[in-house]
Every structure is written in structure tokens, then in C-alpha cells.
């Protein structure tokens, strides 16, 4: 076996997995912990890409910095969207089907807004490091993939620390486990959930920046990622932050290795096959709790 090919396949898989983790992280909080099927999450990611494109093209801002700057705005949007969702569906107990329709509708609205304002042409960003790579021994690492990987790792670590070390983070975990118990402790579950939803949407801003660094974006491109994102969340164990990262790395690695040695068209089959086998053996996912 060619050692260089193998090591590069592993490196590419890890980098790709890091990117997948960034894309899935927000939905892991919203869907995995809050039980809200936000099918519009990829559309928020694409919205992040477009706004990063605007900041990159208009002010020459680095895509990652632009993504970080957009996070508070996305947080506020997330809080607002949750308030609407809560008032219209969750409060009345109609969140299952009507809520799903709401997020489908939201996805279409976001897509159409970007079609109206930006058209349907492909958008890309520019940065000095895009198109270059570093060589470490036999392994070549493109900056276009390394920067998203590092950004994803930092974001995942920060969310994990927030969730495990702060009162608010623990309250979010509590609301996902026992809403009534949290209420009895004097905390307002709705406020906790709106903050958690806001954090989930805030991650979409940075994920959008990473998406447009890797490839061109058009308003409906987020749909391509829906299946992969949900697969990662389920595989990782609904709502587990470390689980999301590990699952994303597994999917990224399996895609890269299968692409290199068997053929690219088998990559999704093997990745989803791995998901099915894992769920058969461990229904709660890798890091999930029953």
C-alpha cells in the first residue's frame, strides 16, 4: 500500500470531518438537545455564507473573522425565531407537524430572499491562504480545509466548555433532560431554550463562512447537506457535543478512505451503512444516553 496515499486519505478525512462537525454542531444543540426539528438549519448556514461573501467582497474581511463577527447577529435572529416558534406552535403543543412545516417554510423564505437579493449566480470568497497547502512529511494539507478544521475544533471546544462548565450551559442540558424539574428549580425553560436556539443558529454563521471557503455557494446548496447533518447528529448520540465531533470525523474519514480506495460514489453508502450498523448495535448513538 502506498503510504503517502493512505496518510493523505486519513488527513483529508479528518479535515473534512472537522468541517462536517462545524456544519452539524448547531443542529446538534437545536435538534439533539431541544428536540426542535429545525430543517432550516442548512439555510441559515447558507445565509451565513452570503453575509460572509458580502463582508469579504465589500470590506476585504477574512471569511473566518467575518463569520465570527456575524455570530451575535445570528444569535439574535435565532432567539427571535424561537420566540415565534414557541408562541405559534410549542406553547399550544402543535410543534411536531406544524413546527416542521414552519421550518420548511422558513427554509424556502431564506432561500428566496437570497435569490431576490443576490440572484442565483455562484458566490465565492477570497483569502490569501485559499489555494495553498502545507507539506508535513508525506502529507499535504490545503489551507482551504485546515482553516475550517481548526475553526470547527475551536467552536466545538468552546460550546462543549460552555455547556459543561457554566450555569447556563448546564441549564440547557437540564431543559433537554427534564423540563419540569428545571421549572421546579425556578428557571424559565422558555428563556433557556431560546438562548440554546440562539447559540445553535449563531454557529451557522461560522459554519457558513467555512462552507463558502471550501466551495462556491448558491441559495439552495444547503439542501445537499441536510441528510449528512442529521446522520452525524444521530450517529453521535442526539445532542452530545463530543459525539457530534466524533461522528463527523468518522463520516469524514470513511468518505475519504472509501473515495481513495474503492470509489467516490460508494462514499455516502459506506458512511450511511456505518450509521445503520451503529444504530443497530447502539440505538442511542455513540455518545448518547438511553
Amino acid at each position: 500500500m502506498d503510504a503517502s496515499l493512505f496518510l493523505n486519505a486519513i488527513a483529508a478525512g479528518i479535515l473534512l470531518g472537522g468541517f462536517y462537525a462545524a456544519v452539524a454542531l448547531g443542529l446538534s444543540i437545536v435538534f439533539g438537545q431541544l428536540d426542535i426539528v429545525n430543517i432550516a438549519h442548512p439555510a441559515f448556514i447558507v445565509a451565513g455564507s452570503y453575509l460572509v461573501f458580502a463582508l469579504n467582497g465589500g470590506f476585504g474581511l477574512d471569511p473566518v473573522i467575518a463569520g465570527i463577527l456575524l455570530m451575535p447577529i445570528f444569535f439574535a435572529v435565532g432567539v427571535f425565531v424561537y420566540r415565534v416558534y414557541y408562541a405559534a406552535f410549542e406553547r399550544t403543543g402543535r410543534e411536531s407537524l406544524a413546527g416542521l412545516a414552519f421550518f420548511f417554510g422558513l427554509m424556502f423564505v431564506i432561500e428566496v430572499l437570497f435569490i431576490i437579493f443576490y440572484g442565483v449566480d455562484y458566490r465565492l470568497v477570497e483569502a490569501d491562504y485559499i489555494g495553498k497547502q502545507i507539506e508535513i512529511g508525506l502529507v499535504g494539507i490545503p489551507w482551504r480545509m485546515l482553516v475550517p478544521f481548526c475553526a470547527a475544533l475551536v467552536m466545538t471546544g468552546a460550546i462543549y466548555l460552555f455547556m459543561s462548565r457554566t450555569f447556563l450551559g448546564r441549564a440547557i442540558l437540564a431543559v433537554s433532560q427534564d423540563r419540569l424539574a428545571l421549572q421546579l428549580m425556578g428557571a424559565d425553560p422558555v428563556k433557556i431554550k431560546q438562548i440554546a436556539f440562539g447559540i445553535g443558529i449563531a454557529t451557522a454563521a461560522l459554519a457558513g463562512a467555512l462552507l463558502i471557503m471550501i466551495g462556491p455557494v448558491e441559495p439552495t446548496i444547503g439542501r445537499l447537506y441536510i441528510g449528512r447533518i442529521f446522520a452525524i447528529i444521530v450517529l453521535g448520540g442526539m445532542g452530545s457535543i463530543p459525539g457530534t465531533l466524533v461522528a463527523a470525523l468518522i463520516i469524514g474519514l470513511s468518505e475519504s478512505i472509501v473515495t481513495t480506495y474503492i470509489g467516490p460514489s460508494w462514499a455516502p453508502t459506506v458512511a450511511f451503512g456505518f450509521l445503520l450498523i451503529t444504530l443497530a448495535v447502539r440505538p442511542q448513538g455513540l455518545f448518547g444516553r438511553l
Binding site: A12, L16, G119, R144, G215, P216, S265
Partner: protein, 414 residues
């Protein structure tokens, strides 16, 4: 005297009627409705929307001259979102509810093929916009494809690419195509050409159109050490491939082939020097050999109309052909003085049309009688500059020889 006065008044009235008659009749007749679905959103939305602008320019040009058969032309269209499943319902509605007089296709193989059974059932003439080898299985004698792929489209499409390989004495080829209708047709033709030329196929695999990173694919290809790499890819794939190829320093001698998207202004501008020396298909580029009557005037109109609409700003790739397939339809209606599909089909089969993309003559299967699929090479591209693509020389026509504008820079990367 009274009779004389009446005669003068009658002549004056007649003169007024004659002077204004074309305009009056054009605006007063029942509109001729031309129906189609169009990829206005989705993967091919960027191209589809630019095609629509070109079709609207044609409609306005025709209506300014009095319409067709003295009747104004109206376009009736729906967004198919580049989703094949939506297409049959759209054409059923166009034909049965909107009662359109004529139909043309959406943009792209994937959304033309699903319309075929519906259109064939109605017996309508069907002009196609950039469908690769769509009629291969349908064998519909009223189908006409404006894309100049040639009589054997799947193979003719990439023939120029493999002719270059042959001239350079290259021996081995890697083929990679997206898992979708167009790309699979393109790689099928490439495979046939490679076999015909006795090339050793060292890699032949498909990839999902949603592939996010092409580095593993290119490394796997690089490991087989091919002389030639032929890609059949969609815009997002093509960008990923070019970026990964430059990062890796791909060592093959001839790279490119059937990569959609590398003709779009925004993508060319962003990829910039990364495109240099890549050899890819195209259908029109600024070159002395491709200056046809009306093309520059059309491009001026298109570029003015496209500004600020978030579509391709140059309009070199698809819009001239979208205008041309409407020209073919319009010229046929005027010549036959009819909307009868049988008469129109017979006329289109036997006629050479003068269009903004040059003379168009269809063969028996509705494809171009002779291929004019270009193989162009990106040359001397600088970073972040769109205007350079308006000039001759940044995209040099290598094939076919009849419209060649320069020689190849070889190999792909030194």
C-alpha cells in the same frame, strides 16, 4: 368635385392604415404563447436565469419588429428548480392548462429528458437548450438540440479533447464524472473516445454531485499516474476540482474536458490563475474565428440587462444559444407561416438557420449535423479581473480546426 374630395380622403385614410398596419396587427392579434420550464433556481439556476434574460431579449426584439405572423410573442414559463421530478407536471400544465402554441426546453440534460415523454405525446416540436445526447433513446423526430455537440453527441462532445491527446501522443487516461445525467453522458462519450484511440484507462469512477472536498479523489487519480484526466462535473464540483488540482500540483499533461461552471463569469473571476492551461469544453468565446453577425450586438444587450440581477455578467456561455434556439423557432414560424408542428419540424430539418451563434444545421437525430463543440484553453489569466475574459486570447480555441484560434500550451503544469 365632391367625388374628388371623397377620393382624396379615402386615399389618405388608406395611407394611414398602411403606414401603421404592421404595428397595429402585431399588437392586436392573439399572442403566440411559447411555453417552457427553466432552471431558475437550484444547481443550474445561474445558467437558467441568464438563459431567460436572453429569451426575453429575443421576445422583445421580435415584438419590436411586429411579432411572429403578425402576432405578439408571449413567454410562459415556470421554475423547475433544476429538479427533474418537477418537469413533467410543468409541461403537462403548459400544454393542457396554459394551452401554449409552442414549447422549448429548460436548460440542461437533467431537466430536458423528463420533459420528452410529455412533449412527444403531444407531438410538439421541441427545441432543446444544452441537453447532451437526450434523444439517444427517445429518437423523437421533432426534437432539435441547439448545443453544437454534433451528430453523435456523447462522443463528439469530447472528441476535440481526445484529438489533442492523440496529437500529443498521450497514452493513459483517468475519467471521473458526477453521478447525474449530463456528467454520465459526458464520461460515457469520453470512455468511448478513449477506447477508440486505444488509450489505457487507468481510473474510471463516478462521484456524488454533493462531494465537498475533491482532494481524496485527485490523490487517488494522481496515484494512477495518468497522462490525461477527463472530468465530467457540475459547477460546484468543477470549482472544487480546480482548487484541489492547484493545491496538489496535479502532474497529468492534459486536464479538463467536460467541466460545467468554468464558463461562468463569477467562477472564472474567482479561480483566476488557477485555471491556466486547463483545457475544457465551451461553445463561444471571444475569438476572431467566432465573430458571427449579431453576436456582439446581442452581448451588449445581454450585459446591460444582466447587470445587478445576480446572473452571469459576461453571458458568453449560455445566453447566445438561448437566443439562437428562439431564433430557429421564430425563423421557422415565419418561413412556414404556421404553428403546425409537422410543418415546423420538416422545415427545421431541411434548413440552415442564420443565428447569433453562426449558421445552424440540424442532422437527422436533431443534433447539429456537424460538431462545433469547442475545446478551449485558459491562458495567461490574472487574479481577480473579470474584464480580461472579454478579450481575445485568455480562452484560446484549440478545436475544432475550423475555428481554431491558437496552439496548445503543453503540458498542463510544468
Amino acid at each position: 368635385m365632391r367625388f374628388f374630395k371623397q377620393l382624396v380622403l379615402a386615399i389618405a385614410a388608406l395611407a394611414v392604415v398602411v403606414a401603421y398596419s404592421p404595428q397595429v396587427s402585431a399588437q392586436s392579434g392573439k399572442p403566440i404563447k411559447i411555453g417552457f420550464s427553466m432552471a431558475l433556481t437550484g444547481v443550474l439556476g445561474a445558467g437558467g436565469k441568464s438563459a431567460l434574460i436572453a429569451m426575453e431579449i429575443w421576445r422583445d426584439d421580435v415584438n419590436k419588429k411586429g411579432g411572429l405572423l403578425g402576432r405578439p410573442v408571449e413567454l410562459v414559463y415556470y421554475d423547475d428548480a433544476t429538479t427533474p421530478a418537477k418537469v413533467p407536471a410543468i409541461y403537462t400544465k403548459l400544454l393542457n392548462v396554459d394551452k401554449v402554441d409552442l414549447v422549448v426546453s429548460s436548460y440542461g440534460t437533467d431537466v430536458i429528458a423528463p420533459a420528452m415523454p410529455i412533449v412527444m405525446r403531444s407531438g410538439k416540436v421541441f427545441l432543446g437548450l444544452f441537453g447532451l445526447d437526450v434523444n439517444h433513446k427517445f429518437k423523437y423526430d421533432r426534437y432539435f438540440q441547439i448545443m453544437p455537440a454534433g451528430p453523435n453527441p456523447a462522443q463528439d462532445w469530447s472528441r476535440g479533447f481526445f484529438d489533442i491527446a492523440k496529437e500529443k501522443g498521450l497514452k493513459s487516461v483517468a475519467i471521473a464524472g458526477a453521478d447525474a445525467e449530463f456528467a454520465q453522458n459526458a464520461v460515457k462519450g469520453a470512455r468511448a473516445n478513449a477506447k477508440q484511440d486505444g488509450l489505457n484507462i487507468v481510473y474510471d469512477k463516478s462521484f456524488p454531485p454533493s462531494t465537498a472536498d475533491f482532494t481524496p479523489i485527485l490523490r487517488a487519480i494522481q496515484a494512477t499516474n495518468p497522462d490525461i484526466i477527463y472530468f465530467g462535473s457540475y459547477p460546484a464540483n468543477s470549482v472544487g476540482i480546480v482548487k484541489a488540482a492547484n493545491e496538489l500540483g496535479l502532474k497529468a499533461k492534459l486536464v479538463g474536458g467536460g467541466m460545467v461552471g468554468l464558463q461562468f463569469a463569477a467562477i472564472m473571476k474567482n479561480l483566476g490563475p488557477g485555471l491556466n492551461n486547463l483545457v475544457n469544453y465551451d461553445f463561444w468565446v471571444p475569438a476572431k474565428t467566432l465573430k458571427f453577425p449579431g453576436i456582439e450586438e446581442f452581448l451588449k444587450k445581454y450585459q446591460a440587462a444582466a447587470a445587478g440581477k445576480g446572473v452571469d455578467l459576461l453571458g458568453h456561455y449560455l445566453p447566445p444559444w438561448a437566443y439562437a434556439y428562439m431564433q430557429v423557432l421564430g425563423q421557422s414560424v415565419e418561413a412556414t407561416k404556421s404553428l403546425d408542428d409537422k410543418k415546423l419540424a420538416e422545415y427545421i430539418h431541411k434548413t440552415t438557420f442564420n443565428t447569433v451563434v453562426g449558421p445552424v444545421k440540424f442532422g437527422k437525430n436533431g443534433e447539429w449535423a456537424t460538431s462545433r463543440a469547442l475545446m478551449i484553453q485558459f491562458r495567461g489569466i490574472k487574479a481577480n479581473n473579470l474584464d480580461q475574459f472579454k478579450m481575445e486570447g485568455t480562452r484560446v480555441v484549440l478545436k475544432p480546426d475550423t475555428v481554431k484560434s491558437g496552439d496548445i500550451m503543453f503540458p498542463y503544469k510544468k
